[in-house]
Homo-oligomer: 437 residues x 2
C-alpha cells in the first residue's frame, strides 16, 4: 500500500534519477557551508546527503537556525560533479519544519567524531545521528535480519519466551531481582531453558531478545543487558550439526549484510571475515598444537588463556586460511550443567567454542537430552531440582538429541567492526554505572 | 550449507515423495493404536503425523514405553489411503532414542485437549506439543515474520532498545522496580521514548521486544509481560500515513501467514478478517453514528464504552464491508502526553484506535515533534522533565513530524484466533499469580 502524501518526497540518494525536475526533499540541516559568493546547505536524510545551493533570501530565512534543523526543500535537480551523487539542488525554496536554536553538545557533521565515549553515550539521542554511527546500526539491523532469514529457511520457528522468571535458576549473585506483586521475580540470564523446552514442541527454534546479567564487571566487552540470538535444534546426530548450523548462519548474516550495505561497509572500512572451510579440533588437539608450535604445555589447564586463543586462531589462518576455528570437547567441569559429556570420554564434553580472529566469539553445545542423566548431573553438581520443575518436565516426556548456541549480537557487531568497546556497537548500553539514556 | 548427517531423515509430510523406498523417520510416539491383528504407531514430528505399522516384535520393543517416547523408525513407505498423507510405513524397525516411562499429566493425542487453562499452563512444557497448540504458535511466528518483512521493504530499520531504565518515566505504580547495583532500575513499559529518539537517526524504525506492566489486573486480555510490535515513522504529512502503514502491515501479516500455513489455519478454523477499504472516522463522527443508529447520545463521553466499539464496528461492516474501522481524533486529555493535539481543535488529538470486530485492537498517533510544544504539554500535565532528559534532547535537536503505533502481538493472535483468553495465545504467560513455568 502506498503511503498517502500531498506531494512525493525524493530521497537524497534518488536525486540523480530526477535531473532537471523540480523535487521536494526533506531532512536535517547537516551543515551550512558559507563561501561568500555561493552558500550550500548539506541536507541529510535516511539515504544520505544532498547538496542544496542557498540563495541569499534563503540564507536569511535560516538565520539563527542551528545544525539539525529539520527542513523541507523544493528545488531543481542539476548536475554537479563535485557534489554527492553527482547532482545538487538549485533555485531552492527552504521551509523549516522543526526549528533548532540550541548548539549540539558536539559536532556531528565533521569527519571525526571527537567526544570521549562517555560524553558520546550521555548524548547518544543525538550522537547516533552521526553518519558512521548510523552505518553501524544499519549493519546491525541487517545482521539480525540474516539470522532470522537463514533459520526460517531451515524450518526454525521464532519464539518469544518470558524475561521475568519465578525462581533463580542460575547463581543468585548474577541475577537481577525484582518485586513481583509481593513475590520475588528474576530477570532471565538467557532463554536457554525455554528454548530446550521448545525443542520438544517445534524441534527447531530461535529467539531474538534481551538477556540480563547482574555481573559487576567493568570491561570493554561486557554489558549487563544485551540482545541475544539464540537457536536450538533437535534430532541431531551429533554436535557437528550444531557447528554446521552456527557457521552457516554466521556466514549468511555477514554475506547478506555485505550485499545489502556496500556503502556502509565502505564507510566503516569493514574488513570482512574469511570463512572458508573452518577446522574443527578438540580442546586437546588445540593444546597439542600450542605445544608443538610454541613449546608450552597446556595439558593441565581446564580452559584457554587469551594467548592460547590467539595461537589457535593463528594456526587456523595459516593452515586453513580462515578467520574462524571451532574447538570442541571442552572439559565437562567448565561447562554448564546441561552440556552433554562425551560418552567415550566423560571428562570432556560436546561443548564447543567458535574462535574468531584470536578470541572466542560464540559458545554452544550438544545438550543432555536424557531425563535420568540430566537429573543425576544436576544432583552431582549439588543443584536443587525444584526451581527447574518445568524444564525437567520437558525431559521427562521425551526430548530428542539436541544442541544449540547463543550469539551476543552487540559483541558480534563489535568484533566484525573491530571496535574497541562494546559500548560503541550498542545503541543505549547498560553497565554498572550507566542506566540512562 | 547442508547439515552433516549419517543418514537422511525424512519428515512425515514428505513421505509421499518416497513411495516404495526405505526411509528413516524420527519423532515422538504420539499414540499407539492396538487393534489386535494390526497395531499402529502414530509418529509425530515437526511436519505432522506418520502412521507406522508395528510388527509383534516391534510392539514388544515398545513395551512399557509411554506416549512422547522419542523414536527413530526405519521402514518402507507404502500407499495407504486411510492414513495421513495417503501413505504409511511398513516393515518398520523402531529404535528408542529417548525413553519415556511416566504418564503425561493430561492426554495430548486426543481430539480435544481436556485440562482447565490453569492445569494446562502448569504443564505448558509438554502441553504445547498438542497439535493445535503447535499450530497456534507457528501462526504466531509467521505474524512476527510478516511484521518485519513489510517494514524492512519500506526502509524501516530494526532496533533493540534497553528494557532496564534509570528513571520511572511513567506512573510509578505500574512499573516493575529492580535493584541495579544499589541503584533503582525500572523495566520499560514500552519502547515509545526510544523509538521516537531513533526517528531522529533512521526516520523509520521498528522493534520487536518485551514490554512490562506492573498492573494488578485479573482479566482475560491483560498480561504483565508481552511482546510488543512497535513502529515509528518520520517525515509524515499527517496521521493518515500512520493509518496507511498500520493497516498495510496488518494486512500483510495476516495474508502472508495465511499463505504460508493453510493447514494450521484449517486446523484452527481461523476466520480470516476482511480488510477491504477501512473507513476512517473521527471520534465525534463515531458518536454521531451511535446517536443516529441507536438513539443514544455519547457526546459528553471522553472515550468509548465496549458497547460503543461494537456499534461502530457493526456500522463499518454494514456500510463498508470490513472487519476494521479507524477512529481518529480522540479527546486529547485521554491520550498520552506525547500525542499531537489537532491544531484546529486542540481538545481533540491525532491519536487513533483501530477497531477490529467490535473491540479496539491497536492504538497509535501522530506525536508532538516540536520541543517547545512538548515541554509545555508536559509542564501543563504536571510532569517532571528531569527523567526525560535524553528523550527531550532528541527533540531539542530536531525531530520531524512523526507517528507510530504498538501492536500487542499475543493480543493480536488472540483476536485473530477468537480465543477466549490471552493466556491461550502466549507461550508462557506472566500474570499476577503466574511466574512459572
Amino acid at each position: 500500500m502506498a503511503l498517502t502524501r500531498t506531494k512525493d518526497r525524493v530521497l537524497a540518494a534518488d536525486l540523480p534519477a530526477h535531473k532537471n525536475e523540480r523535487v521536494l526533499v526533506e531532512g536535517w540541516v547537516h551543515a551550512i557551508r558559507k563561501f561568500g559568493a555561493v552558500n550550500f546547505l548539506i541536507l541529510r536524510d535516511r539515504s544520505g546527503m544532498a547538496q542544496v545551493i542557498l540563495e541569499p533570501d534563503q540564507m536569511q530565512r535560516l538565520e539563527g537556525m542551528q545544525a539539525e534543523t529539520v527542513v523541507r526543500v523544493t528545488g531543481t535537480v542539476d548536475e554537479e560533479e563535485r557534489a554527492a551523487h553527482g547532482v545538487e539542488v538549485r533555485n531552492a525554496d527552504v521551509e523549516v519544519l522543526t526549528p533548532v536554536t540550541d548548539v549540539l553538545p558536539f559536532e556531528i557533521n565533521k569527519r571525526v567524531l571527537k567526544p570521549s565515549l562517555d560524553v558520546f553515550l550521555n548524548h547518544a539521542p543525538v550522537g547516533l545521528r552521526y553518519p558512521s554511527k548510523q552505518a553501524t546500526f544499519r549493519l546491525y539491523s541487517d545482521l539480525l535480519r540474516g539470522f532470522g532469514e537463514y533459520l526460517r529457511a531451515r524450518d526454525f520457528t521464532e519464539i518469544h519466551t518470558p524475561k521475568i522468571f519465578g525462581s533463580a535458576t542460575e547463581s543468585g549473585a548474577n541475577v537481577f531481582v525484582l518485586d513481583y506483586f509481593g513475590k520475588t521475580g528474576y530477570l532471565t540470564q538467557s532463554p536457554q531453558l525455554y528454548k530446550q523446552i521448545m525443542v520438544g514442541v517445534f524441534e527447531r527454534v530461535y529467539e531474538i531478545g534481551p538477556a540480563f546479567r547482574a555481573e559487576e564487571h567493568y570491561t570493554a566487552r561486557h554489558l549487563n543487558e544485551f540482545n541475544s540470538l539464540d537457536a536450538e535444534m533437535g534430532f541431531i546426530d551429533g554436535v557437528d550439526q550444531v557447528l554446521d548450523l552456527l557457521i552457516g548462519v554466521l556466514e549468511h548474516m555477514v554475506t547478506a549484510m555485505a550485499e545489502r550495505r556496500p556503502a556502509d561497509l565502505e564507510a566503516l572500512k569493514v574488513r570482512l571475515p574469511v570463512f572458508g572451510d573452518v577446522p574443527r579440533i578438540s580442546f586437546r588437539e588445540a593444546q597439542q598444537i600450542i605445544l608443538d608450535e610454541h613449546g608450552e604445555s597446556r595439558f593441565h589447564e581446564p580452559d584457554f588463556s587469551p594467548q592460547d586463543e590467539r595461537w589457535v586462531s593463528q594456526w587456523a589462518l595459516r593452515e586453513h586460511g580462515t578467520d574462524f576455528c571451532f574447538v570442541t570437547h571442552f572439559p565437562t567441569v567448565k561447562r554448564a550443567f546441561y552440556t552433554m559429556p562425551d560418552p567415550e570420554d566423560p571428562e570432556h564434553s560436546f561443548g564447543f567454542d567458535l574462535l574468531f580472529r584470536g578470541q572466542e566469539l560464540v559458545s554452544g553445545a550438544q545438550r543432555i537430552h536424557n531425563h535420568a542423566q540430566l537429573v543425576e548431573t544436576m544432583q552431582n553438581r549439588g543443584m536443587s531440582l525444584e526451581p527447574f520443575e518445568g524444564y525437567l518436565e520437558a525431559f521427562k516426556f521425551g526430548l530428542p538429541p539436541h544442541g544449540g548456541f547463543a550469539i551476543g549480537s552487540e559483541r558480534l557487531l563489535m568484533r566484525l567492526l573491530e571496535a574497541d568497546n562494546i559500548r560503541e556497537t550498542t545503541l543505549f548500553p547498560r553497565d554498572v554505572n550507566r542506566l540512562i539514556p
